[in-house]
Symmetry: C2
Subunit: 128 residues, 2 copies
């Protein structure tokens, strides 16, 4: 059983305030990102904060895609977490900056689910 999965952290900057404060725009971007990644959407939830900001989470058969926005700073933090060989999370990671027309992007790709096994304690050698 392979527990490895791919987790992209996507920091999106220099985005027009209005794009980040609209639930329909954010929902469209996340669902379209899921489509680009070739994943299966099971459930989605979006929340509009007062006075500004949107949170969105899409639960997919392959894990999740999420976003949290700070419209007043032109910033959004997205995560694309997928397991399995068939998902193409890099395509979603490429699509999101385009969807929001972000001026600056920082992308980090992590592999989750790699078991770190403790090394065996060394035994002192007997000196003959």
């Amino acid at each position: 059983m392979d527990t490895r999965s791919t987790h992209f952290l996507v920091e999106l900057w220099e985005i027009e305030r209005e794009r980040l404060d609209s639930v329909p725009d954010v929902r469209r971007a996340l669902l379209e990102a899921a489509r680009h990644a070739g994943v299966t959407v099971l459930h989605s939830a979006f929340h509009k904060f007062n006075p500004h900001g949107v949170s969105g989470v899409v639960v997919i058969a392959e894990s999740h895609i999420s976003i949290h926005t700070w419209p007043e700073a032109g910033y959004a933090a997205a995560d694309i977490f997928t397991c399995g060989d068939r998902a193409m999370p890099e395509r979603a990671a490429e699509y999101l900056p385009e969807a929001f027309d972000a001026g600056h992007v920082e992308l980090t790709k992590l592999t989750r689910g790699i078991r770190q096994v403790a090394s065996q304690p060394r035994q002192a050698k007997n000196v003959a």
Copy 2:
């Protein structure tokens, strides 16, 4: 406007298979983790996979808490993502291994939302 937020990646290993395959158990653990972190739950979604595995996401006013489980490997990948000064994500990160009675845990704490500003291009000095 402070865009910084705290993102804990929690890798949980050596967990009893049954605990990871039960939506009620996983839901209880995530909602209780939210309570420990002192955050406000807005929405939650849980999905049971066939033949095994559970995904759960809790959207909170401070961002999200998520988990994906691999019961057959005794493994779960959790994320605790919170913004603001009042959340205590480290308490949720401490609670989750306890909730699942995990034999081995790997914890990573990230700070999201730190803008990397490109340095100014240096101008060659005029030599007099």
